[in-house]
């Protein structure tokens, strides 16, 4: 590290070094009434007092509150929830039970070992048991009747426990606490599904007479309370001040050198990671690289394996790791990391969560992971022991990365971005209501709604969805104000929580028909089309055929010196608008009236995505060595969008005219999409973009940012509320960018945005941010009927 700080070559490229000095703990004695056996247990592990945040959590939990602790990795969050759970167990002589949910199976198994040991130390016939897909059937029965602490994951709760709740009636009768770890991972489709699984859980618990409290843990979050409330359906007390001590940690923010200042072109982060590896990898310590994309993991792993001798390592000491690798391979790499056999690992976010790989020494983040929560989770992978640790963030030529390279304080300050979570997404809600009706019938209140239901009472449109299911799907029957499950089927089996969609495409070795990987539906048309190069652990496979209908792609291993990148055409149509805010132009119209300046909207859209062609790009040189057409059906998506429209007169005033207008407008759209992770916890790919210079629906320039998930999970709503922050960050990126006419770090390169693109985008943003803020505006009565006109207008095209 000293070399990096002193050698001239590196020194100038680090925008900021942040050294977190050792911090002293703030402690409190154990709260009164804590069982002496628990105090003794903690003392035996060297904890004679609690950190303040632990003490506050324990007191709130024992007082019957729902609590969330949102503090960094290694701040002693586990103890926060184990103390109240064990205390209540002791107080009730073993009657009070608790259920633990971990977002991955691996985490559950890790925690199980610890809890089992702790419960055994209490010296009673009480048990902590893991219930997951690996639990043998012979053990399940004992576990159901005698497991005081049951550790499981959302999938097992959804498909195994809740549909068979009678078998778990002992647990539900006395369920005191529901513990959920890593709740910041519960966003998007998965989080929205889990929120519904929790509604089902509350409903079942209430049926058996218990009313469990939620004990939640998360990484540091923006608005943790709001997220927790959406997740569990009721207000939660938040504890977010970390009082734990910490050893010395060093963070560096590294900005790759400008190759061409006019074009604003910086050396690629991946290239720089390869260069930095010579300083940061070696036989004496363990280094972890985090990449943003699966392909980047493959490319970097390949680079590093080739450079292994120069690093003093053997190629097999360098491994790639990502979702899509089969479980056995992943377990092998995890063990290699724990035992120290693996010296370098290149990973996606797959290693971000608490899977036990031991504490490593150096973390290199190739690009900002899209959220501060992820940033801290990744940086927290190193230095858990008392050894000094180093974390380096390599900024990409990307607006968010460049913004943070200039504002590193934002990384270290209060988190800004919000998590998207929408338990009332109609697709998710309707599927989950099916599962819930299977578990217990729904009874309508006097008003025909189900407001008094313990789990779904607050769900929007729940009764109407049940009616729909009763009438359309024939799974439910409504009799005398009650919806009953009436089918010979087990719905949880067919309902997915997300992340492992049945629509996923399986990638198979064409000769052995063995699975080599998996990819989601939306990404499949751009990654496993015929001719695509698909990469697994640095190996290249060429897709021979893509059976789109049956969701299977067949690949053959090849030695490829290029990778592929696909291009798409996107068409967005407005189906229904739900909200609008606008402001009028300052100059009065000739007739003395006022006219609209610009507006933002929120509503439902239909998106058609067509993969058009792919380019072959040489590894290392990134030279374009050819292009081919892609012949696949379009991907259809119904989702929600945030829309920004500018009136024609304002567009004219701001110079958004002439031949370049489409390019400049698109440049602004690209920039907004790319800075969105500053206000929203997401990857740019979670948001789709379409820019229209004359939208058929609005009849003026429009930028659509839509949720790339069927039905949407609330991202558009966050953008609508945070549009000022979004526009502000975009303007700052443009102003700060060193380029003259646009570059990948702001609006996009000159060739894409045109000579006036950067200037126009800047003028637009300045205009949008100056003057009065937007005011809510009624949706005109014809706002939705316009959609038809627009559709008709578009139909012939």
């Amino acid at each position: 590290m000293r070399a990096l700080q002193s050698e001239a070559r590196w020194r100038t490229r680090f925008e900021r070094w942040q050294v977190v000095p050792p911090r002293v703990a703030r402690v409190e004695p154990f709260p009164e009434g804590i069982d002496p056996r628990l105090v003794a247990m903690c003392r035996a592990r060297g904890m004679s007092e609690l950190y303040e945040h632990q003490a506050r959590f324990v007191r709130a939990a024992l007082a019957g509150e729902d609590v969330l602790v949102a503090t960094p990795t290694a701040s002693g969050k586990t103890l926060c929830y184990t103390l109240p759970v064990l205390q209540r167990l002791l107080q009730t002589q073993g009657r009070a039970r608790s259920l633990f949910l971990f977002p991955t199976k691996a985490l559950g198994q890790d925690q199980s070992a610890v809890l089992t040991q702790e419960v055994e130390q209490l010296g009673e016939d009480w048990h902590a048991c893991t219930y997951d897909g690996d639990t043998p059937p012979s053990v399940r029965r004992t576990l159901r009747d005698r497991g005081h602490l049951v550790l499981t994951n959302p999938w097992m709760l959804h498909a195994g426990i809740l549909p068979n709740h009678a078998k778990w009636s002992e647990l539900f009768r006395d369920l005191a606490f529901v513990v959920i770890d890593e709740v910041h991972t519960l966003s998007g489709v998965f989080g929205s599904s889990v929120a519904n699984v929790l509604r089902r859980l509350v409903r079942i618990a209430r049926h058996y007479g218990s009313n469990p409290r939620f004990l939640l843990c998360s990484a540091t979050l923006s608005e943790p309370g709001a997220h927790a409330e959406r997740l569990v359906g009721r207000p939660v007390r938040v504890i977010s001040e970390d009082a734990s001590p910490s050893g010395m940690r060093t963070f560096g923010v590294y900005n790759p050198p400008l190759l061409n200042a006019v074009a604003g072109l910086r050396s690629s982060a991946l290239e720089e990671a390869r260069e930095l590896a010579r300083k940061l990898c070696g036989p004496g310590h363990q280094t972890i690289f985090f990449c943003q994309r699966r392909t980047a993991v493959e490319v970097l792993t390949r680079y590093l394996k080739e450079a292994a001798p120069a690093l003093g390592l053997a190629p097999e000491e360098i491994r790639g790791y990502r979702g899509g690798y089969l479980p056995d391979l992943r377990r092998e790499i995890e063990v290699g990391l724990r035992t120290g056999k693996v010296k370098v690992v290149v990973s996606t976010n797959a290693l971000e969560l608490g899977i036990d790989i031991g504490a490593l020494d150096v973390a290199v983040l190739v690009g900002y992971p899209g959220s501060q929560a992820s940033f801290w989770q990744r940086a927290g992978r190193v230095g858990r022991r008392q050894k000094p640790s180093l974390a380096v963030l390599i900024a990409r030529s990307d607006p968010v990365d460049q913004y943070l390279a200039h504002h590193p304080e934002q990384l270290f300050g209060t988190p800004q971005e919000k998590l998207g979570l929408d338990p009332d997404n109609l697709v998710i809600l309707s599927e989950q209501l099916k599962c819930a009706a299977f578990e217990l019938p729904f009874r309508a209140d006097a008003d025909g709604e189900i407001g008094s239901d313990a789990g779904f009472g607050r769900a929007r449109d729940a009764a109407a969805v049940l009616d729909y299911l009763a009438e359309e799907s024939r799974f439910l029957t409504k009799r005398e104000g009650t919806w009953w499950w009436m089918a010979d089927a087990y719905p949880a089996q067919d309902v997915n929580l997300g992340g492992e969609d049945p629509d996923n495409v399986l990638v198979l070795d064409a000769s052995t028909k063995k699975a080599i990987g998996e990819i989601d539906r939306a990404a499949s048309i751009t990654t496993v089309h015929q001719g695509a190069i698909y990469q697994v652990e640095g190996e290249t496979w060429k897709i021979e055929t893509f059976d789109h209908k049956n969701r299977r792609a067949y690949a053959r291993a090849v030695e490829s010196d290029y990778f592929t990148e696909a291009e798409v055409d996107v068409d967005v149509r407005v189906l229904r608008l739900e909200e609008r805010a606008a402001r009028d132009r300052t100059q009065p119209e000739p007739d003395g009236g006022t006219a609209e300046d610009w507006s933002i909207w929120r509503g439902e859209v239909h998106v058609t995505t067509l993969a058009t062609q792919y380019k072959k790009i040489r590894f290392y040189t990134r030279e374009n060595v050819g292009a081919e057409d892609i012949h696949l059906p379009a991907e259809e998506l119904d989702s929600e969008a945030f829309v920004l429209t500018l009136s024609e007169p304002s567009a004219a005033d701001l110079g958004l005219m002439g031949g370049d207008r489409g390019a400049a407008w698109r440049g602004l759209g690209m920039l907004l999409r790319r800075v969105a992770p500053l206000v929203l916890s997401c990857q740019p790919r979670d948001l789709g973009l379409s820019t229209q210079v004359r939208s058929p629906h609005f009849r003026k320039p429009a930028i659509f940012l839509y949720d790339a998930v069927q039905g949407g999970v609330g991202l558009s709503e966050i953008l609508f509320r945070s549009h000022r922050e979004l526009l502000g960050a975009a303007l700052e990126v443009i102003v700060r960018c060193a380029c003259t006419h646009g570059c990948p770090a702001c609006v996009g390169p000159l060739e894409e945005v045109g000579a006036l693109g950067k200037e126009t985008a800047r003028r637009l943003l300045e205009h949008l941010l100056a003057g009065p803020t937007l005011a809510p505006r009624e949706l005109a009565g014809d706002a939705n009927s316009q959609a038809e006109t627009a559709e008709n207008a578009e139909a012939p095209a």
């Binding site: 549909p163 068979n164 709740h165 009678a166 078998k167 009636s169 049926h207 109609l426 697709v427 309707s430 599927e431 009706a437 299977f438 578990e439 217990l440 019938p441 449109d461 109407a464 969805v465 729909y468 359309e472 799907s473 024939r474 029957t477 009799r479 005398e480 009650t482 009953w484 499950w485 009436m486 089918a487 010979d488 089927a489 087990y490 719905p491 949880a492 089996q493 189906l575 229904r576 439902e604 119904d638 069927q710 039905g711 939705n784 009927s785 038809e788």
Partner: protein, 284 residues
């Protein structure tokens, strides 16, 4: 002219792409639709409201060519040995309860209803089958509470594969309704296991239908396979009761077969001379 919630749901759920109704029931539904065209629907007759429960009682003397009372003279020690449960040696088959249920599905889980419970018992040397029926899902608790009491009062339970199936369906549903399940300490003679041990490989499989025919000479006429039970009840709830009678009959025959098979098991027999086939067998 905004889109209704219904239309939005259909669109968002990609209803057109879904394999709508699951394949198993679509066959049944086609059959049900065809059957629904039969002009006269015949509801089960002789159903009587007994307190909170709707039930029908049928006395029976014979099943196939066999006299049901033969079961009363079964060798108890032999039964206990075959069942590997010594408690049965002290119990009188006259005080046993012969149990068979019809449900809305084999997959289990809380959404499965036990809609017909057949309980056979000897009273003063005469065999009678009580069939408790669920005419409305809302009456499940009443039916189950009644069934639980009858089982609790019996000396032991006789079933065929019921330890693995009927018992669990009933237990789950009873727990769900806050009824203490009666099975925990109750001796339970599940005829499937001892008969399977004795006759495995003799008749191709060890289903109830096979055993009653091979061992007791029972041949059923017009039997509606048990797999029709879910659809028959769903049809009934939708105003088409035409197949209920068939399931009642099927359930009645199943209960009577329990008696004849117990009688058979409780008699020492020379081992049948048929060769032990190695063909795969399926569960009943």
């Amino acid at each position: 002219m905004s889109e209704s919630l219904r239309e939005r749901l259909a669109r968002l759920r990609r209803e057109d792409e879904r394999a709508s109704p699951p394949p198993a029931s679509s066959v049944r539904e086609r059959l049900a639709r065809r059957a629904a065209r039969v002009p006269v629907a015949i509801p089960p007759e002789r159903l009587v409201q007994e307190g909170t429960v709707l039930a029908r009682r049928t006395a029976a003397e014979r099943h196939g060519g066999l006299v049901l009372c033969d079961a009363l003279s079964a060798d108890r020690a032999l039964l206990a040995r075959e069942a590997r449960d010594e408690r049965i040696a002290d119990l009188d088959p006259a005080h046993a309860l012969y149990l068979d249920t019809e449900t809305t599905g084999l997959s289990g889980g809380s959404g499965t209803y036990v809609w017909l419970v057949g309980l056979g018992a000897f009273e003063a040397g005469r065999f009678e089958v009580w069939q408790g029926f669920l005419p409305e899902p809302a009456q499940e608790q009443a039916l189950l509470a009644h069934v639980a009491e009858r089982i609790r009062a019996a000396a032991y339970v006789v079933s065929f594969f019921g330890k693995s199936f009927d018992r669990h369906r009933l237990e789950d549903k009873m727990r769900m309704h806050g009824i203490e399940p009666p099975f925990a300490e109750k001796p339970h003679l599940d005829l499937y296991w001892p008969l399977r041990r004795r006759y495995r490989g003799h008749f191709g499989d060890c289903r109830l239908r096979t055993l009653e025919s091979q061992l007791c000479g029972v041949e059923r006429e017009d039997d509606l396979p048990g797999s029709f039970a879910p659809a028959a009840w769903f049809d009934f709830l939708h105003g088409r009761p035409h197949r209920l009678e068939g399931v009642f009959q099927h359930n009645l025959d199943d209960v009577k077969s329990l008696v004849t098979l117990l009688a058979h098991l409780g008699r020492e027999l020379p081992s049948p001379s048929a060769p032990r086939a190695s063909s795969e067998e399926t569960l009943p």
